[in-house]
């Protein structure tokens, strides 16, 4: 029973995001080696998201932390392998796209229920904002450390 829960809630979503983000690399014409590394980044993102979510953190914070994690992963990998950062970032961030929320926003809009529409809309915008903030925070940190390192040398 317990193992089944873990499988359902943790392992399967991570597996799906691994496969999906590797396949997504084709759309950006990334070569196979980088595609697999970027896919691992996508899985890592999803794992961190689920770990925070299952421990009961507020949803927006889950998105913030996992976006920060994927940003950190892609900055590190990009420095290591000398590739552009967005090659890893673009694939890694795909599993975070809140497809369900966007869809629900649209459905409530068609349904004409203004109250639940504005609720859903605010939630979607908040999630998009927290993903952006997660990426912003890490990138700003990385830029700052690079400037400081340059001055120290």
């Amino acid at each position: 029973m317990y193992i089944e829960n873990v499988l359902q809630q943790l392992i399967l979503p991570c597996l799906y995001s691994l496969i999906a983000s590797i396949a997504f690399g084709v759309q950006f014409n990334i070569k196979l080696r980088h595609m697999i590394m970027a896919g691992i980044g996508g899985t890592l993102t999803q794992f961190i998201f689920l770990a925070f979510e299952l421990s009961g953190t507020a949803e927006m914070l889950c998105y913030f932390f996992s976006a920060a994690a994927v940003s950190m992963y892609s900055e590190i990998m990009a420095r290591r392998l000398h590739v552009p950062v967005n090659m890893y970032l673009v694939v890694g961030i795909i599993p975070l796209v809140p497809g369900g929320y966007i869809y629900n926003t649209m459905i409530t809009l068609i349904g004409g229920d203004v109250e639940s529409f504005s609720h859903q809309f605010a939630e979607t915008v908040g999630i998009a904002g927290s993903i952006a903030m997660g990426v912003f925070a890490v990138s700003a940190l990385v830029r700052l450390t690079r400037i400081i390192m340059k001055k120290a040398i």
Binding site: L12, P13, Y16, S17, I19, A20, A23, F24, G25, V26, Q27, F28, N29, I30, K31, H34, H82, V83, P84, V85, N86, M87, L89, V90, V91, I93, I94, P95, V97, G99, G100, I102, Y103, T105, M106, I107, L109, I110, A132, V135, F136, S139, A140, R143
Partner: protein
């Protein structure tokens, strides 16, 4: 390297970078670095770059000569991060080795001929993305199969629409209408339980991923003009997807 050669090479590298989906600050940065490697970094010899996602302006000043300028209008933008990576390596190579103009031109020709993924691979990847995301958002096996097949159709539709060179909004509306109407019809026939998971899965193929990440990275780098442009483009695609799906659902559930 003469000023004219430098102008030709930097404008070609810059326009290729923009066309293949690099961030705008990377374009300006690469051109400035290349120019600095050949001594165009300040004083009498210097270079000025202005890049936005739709055009590129470069001016080279050499000594007391009249400055020379080239403008490039960028019309077709795609995504090819492999070529961006190779262009990045090339500009790093230029900065350290300072090769002649002919050598650089040969490298650029090679990069613009690099292989892209063929049709079969694209079809497989669209199908995999559609079906795994249908499962990811909580669908069952029938949803995944339907999403995979519809994703392939969406790829074909988007290739067809691409031939008339549409705006991003129009393209996403058409793709989304096609995907959602097939999904709704399949669920009305009774092959899948509902159409929501299928539509979400298929729509993930249309998410403007590179536009969004470039937008964020340009904002961080302080290039707000480019950031605003890509932000509006991404919003238009998202709104187009919503409009397409909403109209298809409203139409086919009413019938």
């Amino acid at each position: 390297m003469t000023a004219k050669e430098l102008l030709q090479i930097t404008s070609r590298i810059g326009s290729m970078l923009i066309e293949y989906g690099a961030e705008i600050y990377r374009v300006e940065d690469s051109i400035n670095r290349i120019a600095a490697a050949y001594g165009f970094s300040g004083g009498n010899n210097h270079i000025e770059v202005f890049a936005i996602p739709t055009s590129l302006i470069i001016t080279v000043n050499e000594g007391d000569d009249a400055p020379i300028t080239q403008t490039r209008r960028i019309i077709n933008r795609g995504t090819n991060l492999d070529r961006v990576d190779k262009l990045n390596n090339l500009s790093r190579f230029i900065c350290t080795e300072k090769p002649e103009a002919d050598v650089i031109k040969k490298h650029l020709d090679e990069i613009s001929k690099r292989k892209v993924y063929g049709y079969p691979v694209q079809i497989i990847s669209y199908a995999i993305v559609g079906s795994t995301f249908a499962l990811f958002f909580g669908g069952g096996i029938p949803d995944a199969v339907a999403a995979g097949i519809i994703s392939i159709l969406v790829l074909l539709v988007s290739k067809m629409v691409n031939k008339v060179k549409p705006s991003v909004f129009f393209q996403s509306v058409v793709c989304s209408i096609a995907a959602s109407s097939i999904a709704v019809i399949i669920s009305r026939i009774g092959l899948t339980d509902g159409f929501d998971k299928v539509i979400i899965g298929v729509s993930m193929n249309l998410v403007p991923g590179i536009t969004l990440t470039n937008c964020m990275r340009d904002f961080i780098a302080g290039d707000f003009l480019a950031g605003m442009y890509t932000l509006i483009e991404a919003l238009l695609v998202a709104v187009g997807m919503a409009v397409g799906a909403a109209s298809a659902i409203a139409l086919f559930t009413a019938i």
